[in-house]
Amino acid sequence: MKSFSYERAKTPADAAAAAARIKGARFIAGGTNLLDLMKLEIETPVHLIDVNGLALDKIEVLPDGGLRIGALVRNTDLAAAERVRREYPLLSRALLAGASGQLRNKATTAGNLLQRTRCVYFYDTNMACNKRAPGSGCSAIGGISRQHAVIGGSDACIATHPSDMAVAMRALDATVETVRSNGVERKIPIAKFHRLPGDSPHIETDLQPGELITAVKLPKPVGGTQLYYKVRDRASYAFALVSVALIQQKDGTGRVALGGVAHKPWRVESAERALPRGSKATADALLADAKPTPDNAFKVKLVERTLAAVLAHSKEMRT
């Protein structure tokens, strides 16, 4: 690990200003992903700004019935919050499907959104990776790509986003609230927060350098049947091969988002019109432009089958 200086920030604005002032500075909250990557020298911050002392650990009910989730609310606390379990069960389910109890106790709402990919070539510093070393190439393309993206990838990168929580946030139309280093606050719709790799896969989000996430806002509850199905290589504590987040109303209409298939949570609003027609029609619409590799072509079928299971479960719950 490279050495670094360390400070505890007092306010969100101070933290953002410090990040802008010191080149190579990074925020640290839970640290479960950042420290992992620092040990491998994939991340090499020269200064860490510990944001754990900022009072961003509350879940507030908003006047419009929505919820503002502080950036530092731990995954365990968000999944267990009574209002989340009752009004946004999709979010609880997605959080509980991810990581381990120990990690969820540390991991934060903002940090979860900012997780780096678990692509094995990103982690292996002996291999080419445009995300880790821009311009060096992509070892996953033509490599072992069973875990990789089937849609939205580019010639530069076919990595997936590892988060379960973000998939639920995408289906729930969350908004990411931030403060920039100049003190200006802004709101980023979750749909625009994560980027596709294009020719700059090292730029993963819409955040500007030094910009700090302060909260994630959820609109008022949309009701319906909410389910999160995650298919993985073992029953617990593994990243998704494919995951499906479903919100379905009594008339069969609804929303669906996928995890494990793309560089960001995958939702195609126009594909949701196919939901009342079943899993095949919906999967076909969601993955119309899929370009799987021979290793991960099975994911396309797996999405359809997982959708079939989720829709069957949803139907059972609605009748």
Partner: protein, 209 residues
């Protein structure tokens, strides 16, 4: 006889470790120095197992390395050092965490309970007693992490925190075998003592799992 064998084995391991450290990482090996940057030292005060300790640590020092290499509490184990195995699990400010994936400096002013703080050979924690009774281990390397995790799991269930296998998010979670296995999935046991571990935890919880 048992004692002398233990000491011999331990001395051998220490000698081996010193040799490796002397050849590979002569400086600050416990701060995971890559050898290319000057260390930054920070003052850190931790309350570990009820005792306060003040340390001057390289900022890179993980909580795990602070416990093992600076406070000589070797009960907490380093397995993967990347949060995948759970051998380093401790209870920090009331919650189980992977001590390998957090910096000691981030816990300045905080409280930590390690396996040594849960019980002693003369006065074992009920979870330790249950692990012995049910043979919840074979080599024992993952055991301190398993026991710290297990103690915290029962508190999490008591606090009403749901899990991936809880059928009803709005009902209080129950101590079932499926719940215990899911909640303990962050603790790997390569000897495969899982079924006995689940039985030990279930006994402490007062239920048959």
């Amino acid at each position: 006889m048992q004692d002398s064998e233990d000491i011999n084995r331990r001395e051998l391991l220490i000698a081996g470790a010193v040799t490796a450290a002397a050849t590979a990482l002569p400086l600050a090996s416990n701060a995971q120095d890559s050898g290319t940057s000057a260390p930054v030292i920070a003052k850190v005060t931790l309350e570990v197992n009820g005792k306060s300790a003040s340390l001057a640590l390289d900022t890179r020092t993980t909580l795990l390395d602070a416990l093992r290499d600076h406070l000589h509490l070797n009960g907490t184990k380093k397995g993967c050092d990347h949060g995948q195995c759970g051998a380093c699990t401790v209870i920090a400010d009331g919650r189980r965490i992977n001590s390998c994936l957090t910096l000691a400096v981030m816990h300045d002013g905080g409280k930590v309970t390690t396996i040594e703080g849960l019980g002693t050979p003369d006065k074992m924690h009920p979870m330790q007693t249950a692990f012995v009774k049910h043979d919840g281990f074979q080599c024992g390397y993952c055991t301190p992490g398993q026991i710290c995790s297990a103690v915290a799991v029962l508190n999490e269930i008591k606090a009403g925190i749901p899990s991936h296998v809880s059928a009803d998010l709005l009902a209080p979670p129950r101590v079932t075998n499926a719940e215990l296995r899911e909640r303990m999935s962050g603790n790997i046991c390569r000897c495969g003592a899982y079924s006995n571990i689940a039985e030990a935890i279930a006994e402490v919880a007062g239920s048959a799992a």
